[in-house]
């Protein structure tokens, strides 16, 4: 009976080889597809076990932290709620959902380890992520929420010399402890500061003036005829109130926001040069913010709300674009970047929300070094545009923002929205201060006003936030 026993053992070896083969199949050959299978919740559960780092404001205020949840897991809580919900966003690991910094700083917050540290990391009983310190200023943020007083609109403030985002707030917002459903009528996770498309109106004249002067085609003292109406792209264009200003300098045109002059200037500068300067300011691409890409909108002229003109398209009405109309749609962040570039002597710094990343032992893992996004204009141009913007606040449409003792450079905008003859406007105000040594660049854009102006509705909000930030030593 020896031979059959030997053969029987051979069969047993074959059967066991089959077991080894199939175990290898699951553990090695098909492991990654199994790990990524949508039915497999293990990856998600691993995520729940990570104690994500905190998100903090510049002054150390905790904006997001992890709290223990049942089953050795962690959940997120946001002590400041809707005050910071737009920049911070939220993270619900169990649903694989995250927006805002919770998404864009996810790798830091989760503390993804690589190489050696991941091997030693296995020894630590619980994975812990790093803390993310932001550039956000709680006082400025609070000033924005109070000044908006429930009005739908956006406030965003940058430090022109570094690109640090100091304030990012918009109404309507949401409580990130309890994110709204998509059909909520009162709350939204849509961040108007980076996703909202506003008609910039006359605030865009800063860009037009920059292109005109920096290209050498105009000086602040160039005189242009300000009569109204004129024909732009075959359609009559009138000044506010139909007023004919006669020949005026570019500075005066800026101070009193004379549309017909800026439309002529934009047409004369031409689409190519205008588009070139717009690109330098950051138009035509997603802002380089450390924020989720899906929450960043591009500022440029649009044929329809969803279809953009190709850059420098012959179909564009460049004259109207030059005064912030003609289908031009911008984000408040983009307009703050415009102010920031002028404020910083023509250099646009890359905007950023993350100041530094600190690990659990207090070691700084990473610091955001200010980087130049683009050299938009010569410093002489910047000085001249600054002077023109100061005049707006001193004696023009933006007097409401005068801070007394501190000079402010700004530009109002009051885009007409809604059907012809309606009184609806989108008031906007873009500014920086102090004009001689800028510390804050700000954009305030209001969704809708019944006949309100940039100077009367948006400028006072900018004033409150500027005062708070400057008093805070920003």
């Amino acid at each position: 009976m020896n031979a059959p026993i030997a053969r029987l053992f051979g069969v047993v070896i074959l059967l066991f080889a089959l077991l080894v083969l199939f175990t290898s199949r699951w553990t090695v050959f098909e492991a990654s597809s199994l790990n990524n299978n949508t039915l497999n919740v293990r990856t998600l559960l691993d995520e729940l076990k990570i104690k994500r780092g905190r998100i903090l404001a510049a002054d150390g205020t905790v904006l997001a932290k992890s709290v223990p949840a049942p089953g050795n897991t962690w959940s997120r809580t946001y002590p400041t709620g809707r005050l910071f919900s737009q920049p911070v966003g939220f993270s619900i690991a169990a649903k694989s959902e995250a927006i805002g910094l919770e998404d864009s700083a996810g790798a830091d917050l989760r503390g993804i380890q690589t190489g050696l540290s991941s091997i030693f990391g296995q020894l630590s009983p619980r994975p812990v992520g790093d803390d993310v310190y932001t550039t956000l200023d709680p006082k400025g943020q609070r000033a924005a929420i109070q000044a908006l007083a429930g009005m739908h609109g956006s406030v965003v403030a940058l430090d022109p010399s570094t690109g640090a985002v100091k304030v990012m707030y918009a109404n309507p917002g949401y409580d990130n402890n309890n994110p709204p459903s998509s059909n909520s009528t009162t709350d939204t996770t849509f961040n108007r500061v980076t996703q909202g498309h506003y008609a910039p109106g006359s605030t865009f004249k800063i860009v037009t003036a920059t292109a005109a002067i920096d290209s050498g085609m105009y000086t602040p003292n160039s005189v242009i005829n300000g009569n109204s109406p004129i024909t732009v792209s075959g359609v009559p264009l009138a000044n506010d109130g139909g007023k004919s200003w006669g020949p005026q300098t570019l500075t005066t045109a800026m101070t009193y926001s004379i549309n017909t002059i800026f439309a002529q200037v934009a047409e004369h500068v031409g689409r190519g040069t205008m588009t070139d300067y717009m690109k330098r300011f950051g138009f035509y691409s997603k802002p380089p913010l450390d924020y989720p890409s899906f929450q960043l909108a591009i500022s440029q002229p649009y044929v329809t709300p969803t279809r953009a003109y190709p850059p420098a398209s012959r179909d564009e009405d460049i004259g109207r674009i030059g005064i912030g109309e003609g289908g031009l749609l911008v984000t408040p962040l983009q307009m703050a970047m415009v102010a920031s570039a002028v404020a910083d002597g023509g250099t646009l710094m890359t905007p950023h929300l993350i100041d530094r990343v600190v690990d659990q032992d207090g070691r700084t893992v990473r610091t955001t070094n200010p980087t130049v996004y683009s050299h938009v204009m010569k410093s002489s141009t910047a000085a001249e545009v600054t002077r023109m913007m100061e005049k707006v606040v001193e004696e023009g449409t933006g007097t409401a923002v005068q801070l007394g003792g501190i000079s402010v450079a700004g530009k109002t905008g009051t885009a007409q929205i809604g059907p012809n003859g309606s009184n609806l406007t989108q008031p906007a105000f873009v500014a920086f201060a102090p004009a001689d040594h800028p510390k804050i660049a700000i954009a305030v854009m209001i969704d809708e006003s019944n006949g309100g102006f940039g100077g009367s509705v948006a400028a006072p909000i900018a004033k409150t936030v500027l005062q708070t930030l400057l008093a805070d030593g920003a």
Partner: protein, 433 residues
């Protein structure tokens, strides 16, 4: 070195394993090394040495490797069960002690195990009676649609199939020893295939029928495959006729095909085996959730595993992520935590044990002993194959235990009795004439 001294040395890895294992679990649990791990290791080593001394006096010539291999498996099982549920591990340790007592009793009472032959019909009747116990109202209970256990409230729960398998092997070994010559010589050739004579083959057919009935009545596919495979293995060794095995396999194939397509509970098992990642099946009650999460757990383990105590077994809400981790799914937990390498190490340990079992069969000097050793070893190997094959999706998943490792009193006690029988055969085989 004498056989017994080799056995004693072989116990060292087992006790190291149990100490290191408990240490690992303690470190993971409390981030501090408790000296309880040393206590557990010492207690386990003490039990093993007691058993070793017992073997030294009663079966001095028995195979020296089988007991240490079992000790390695049992200690590993104890650590795994402890990691899953410390309370169950304590019970498992108690079962191990009871198992060792029955192990000793078997060796003392069956010094001449050949007297079992005299009682073969009683043994087979008791075995078959045991098999139907789970179906009896009042004491039987079912799990996942299969009738696997007997519960005597307040006393104990046990799985009769674990004991029935030993009884069936004893019966078949004895019966085939008597009839093997007749089966071979009385066979008729038809179409070039040797068919066994019906008269002598009759009882074997009865066993086949009973195995199938077990399947139908108890829905216990795993035990059915195990019994039938054991029967074929013994028949093959007894007669050296491959044709008998082929005929048996075809008959079983037809039986399984019919049952797989006509009995809903078995059909469902086949479906979940073939399509575990089908979302509808995955979410269905008694669907593929268990099989799918078994292979997900193995994928999470990878080559080297996530480490002791690192496998995710429950959902944060408290529900099971991997159902039955301590019994059916323990191999998936092992693979998750120790990876392919750990799992293969376990399989090799089993293979070594089976190899020693076959070695005992080769050395045995009479047919009954040989067939008994072959049957017990083959049954043991098949049990490992059925459960690990189910967990790794080689075959549909059916509930049998992973011998010595899975949580379960019946399993550990019955398999220790199985070990006792193999050692008895081994000792007699090596005894000088």
């Amino acid at each position: 070195m004498s056989a017994r001294n080799r056995e004693l040395l072989g116990l060292i890895p087992a006790s190291l394993l149990v100490t290191a294992g408990f240490a690992g679990v303690f470190i993971q649990r409390s981030n501090a090394l408790s000296n309880a791990s040393l206590t557990y290791g010492a207690l386990f080593l003490g039990l093993c040495i007691a058993a070793h001394i017992f073997i030294r006096f009663t079966l001095p010539r028995a195979d020296p490797y089988m007991f240490p291999l079992v000790a390695v498996l049992a200690s590993f099982g104890l650590v795994m069960v402890y990691r899953i549920n410390p309370t169950l591990a304590r019970q498992q340790a108690q079962w191990f002690v009871l198992g060792l007592i029955l192990f000793a009793a078997t060796i003392i009472l069956l010094r001449d195990y050949r007297k079992l032959e005299r009682y073969r019909y009683i043994i087979v009747l008791i075995s078959l009676g045991l098999l139907v116990l789970p179906r009896l109202p009042g004491i039987g209970y079912s799990a996942n649609g299969a009738y696997l256990g007997v519960r005597i409230p307040g006393l104990f729960v046990f799985q009769p199939a674990e004991f029935a398998k030993i009884g069936l092997v004893i019966f078949l070994a004895s019966y085939l020893r008597d009839t093997r010559q007749v089966l071979v010589q009385g066979g008729r050739r038809f179409l070039g295939i040797t068919f066994p004579p019906l008269k002598q083959f009759g009882p074997v057919v009865v066993i086949w029928g009973l195995a199938m009935a077990t399947l139908v009545v108890l829905s216990d596919t795993g035990s059915s495959v195990m019994f039938y495979g054991g029967l074929l293995a013994m028949l093959y060794v007894a007669t050296n006729r491959l044709s008998f095995v082929v005929i048996g396999l075809i008959a079983a194939g037809i039986g399984f095909w019919y049952l797989g397509t006509h009995i809903p509970h078995i059909h469902a098992r086949v479906e979940t085996w073939l399509h575990p990642l089908n979302p509808t099946l995955y979410h269905a009650p008694l669907g593929s959730y268990q099989v799918a999460n078994s292979i997900f757990a193995q994928a999470a383990g990878g080559l080297f595993g996530q480490g002791f105590g690192q496998a995710q077994l429950t959902l944060p809400g408290g529900g099971p992520l991997l159902p039955f981790p301590q019994t059916d799914m323990i191999y998936a937990v092992i693979t998750d935590e120790l990876g392919l390498f750990g799992a293969v190490a376990v399989l090799i340990t089993y293979l070594l044990f089976v190899a020693r079992g076959f070695k005992v069969a080769l050395l045995a000097r009479d047919s009954f002993s040989t067939l008994l050793a072959v049957g017990l070893s083959a049954m043991f190997a098949l049990q490992v194959f059925v459960i690990v094959g189910g967990v790794t999706r080689v075959i549909p998943l059916t509930g049998v235990t992973l011998p010595f490792i899975s949580y379960g009193g019946s399993s550990i006690v019955a398999n220790l009795v199985l070990l006792a029988l193999l050692l008895l055969v081994s000792d007699r085989a090596r005894r000088p004439e």
